[in-house]
Amino acid sequence: MQELNALDAAVGDGDHGSTLVRGLARAATAADGKRAKAFMRASGGASGTLFGLVLHEIERHLDDGDDLAKGLERACARICDLGEVRPGDKSLVDALAPAAGALADGKSFAEAVSAAEAGRDETRDMRAKCGRAQHVEGGGVGHLDPGAVSLVLILGTLARESVS
């Protein structure tokens, strides 16, 4: 949590880790089928909604066996639409889109996580075109996007839990 807050402090308002943890803690105690929505409620704000859409698809995959590739693609399209963001803008989409693309190409989940990690690392040199970071001096160049970092953490956890 502190690491994510520190990353966010460099490019935003420094609460990304706390916001996610608050949402995830509530989601962990919510009833089946209501975890993503509990996350949205507890974390609040636009990031709560956008990450909630990713968790909503993961929840459908885990609970109902819905296709994860299609789900992540749908979440990615929705986030781009709602957040008015595209790949390359320095956001969670830069990690999510490659992962969704890898799964759609029939690659394994481990490979999808690797694609997300590569996308995350590319955000370091990107200049932000969305969110608070675009107003930071230098557009956040030299810093990883905290949303991309936390998205990789979420997908990495899912990969570990799915294997074990």
């Binding site: 993503a36 929505k37 949205m40 609040g44 859409l53 929705r78 957040g83």
Partner: protein
Amino acid sequence: MKKLFNDPATMVDDMIDGFVIACPHVRRGALDPRIVVRQRNRKDPDELVTLLIGNGSGHEPIAMGFVGQGVLDANVVGDVFAAPSADLILDGIREVNGAAGTILLISRHSGDVINGRAATMLAEEEGMKVVPLLMYDDISAAPPERRADRRGAPGTMFIYKILGAAAEAGWPLERLTRLGEDVRERTVTLAAAVSPGISPLTGQPMFSLPDDEIYLGMGVHGEPGMGRVKTGPVRNLVEEMIRRLLDDRPIAAGGQAAVIVNGMGGTTIMELLTVWAETVKSLAACNVRAVAPMIGSFVTTQETGGFSISLFEPDDEMLRLWCAPSDTPAFPKIELSDECPA
């Protein structure tokens, strides 16, 4: 600054408690206590289109005060000045949705837009028929060629009321949506603020302004607009505001404008009636007739001093719907005011 609350953590729920006990028009939602649902003369949602909106609290009586016959079917109440979350808005849609469909009104502010549209996506995924209708009217937020970038201001109340009356009369979803877009294109609003409200969260003034200056074009949360003007007789200020409104969206000579004079919470009825009288004169000087006014403090920001003027050029049917009777805790009866000088 002294405020009369128990605890910041419960202030919104304490307020809703008071509201639902006082008003037989409404009850709390079954799915969540932050949803206020129409109770008296409820619609059959399979027959008639339902309308709802989600918004941050702190602006009362809007929007929960407009839940009732002829206006809204539900209001989703967020924290102070914060949009309700997407899942809460989704619960609000579930409360009122039926086969006739639902219009989710969204006043264009970033959190409301993202969460409202996300809620619409989740509702559609569950098989509900929902149309999000973005509302914007504040001319200080963007020039006319970028109308769609404007934020929602008190002129959105024309949409609430006209769609509410038309939905009650049985208009179908697609026709209502077009009507709402048409009303939106005919509406412009400009605000003038004289003194800051105090945030109930921080206890601090929400902006600062010298005693002899008025801020033109401020948003409902104190967002910046067109800049400062000096104080003087309110006649001069209203003339300037009407000039800017008619420059932005002209009304042909001999035309008419329905008017909302909205107080921001700390402005007296004496002042608002004076503003209305000057509005009638300024419009008459441009050969535009002011009709069917709504005058009072409906979209407030705590005790902010100031007001906005909204102009809406209606066709005959829109004007009839604007003046149609309604039965809600806070929406006033709109009279044609046919004694207005032409």
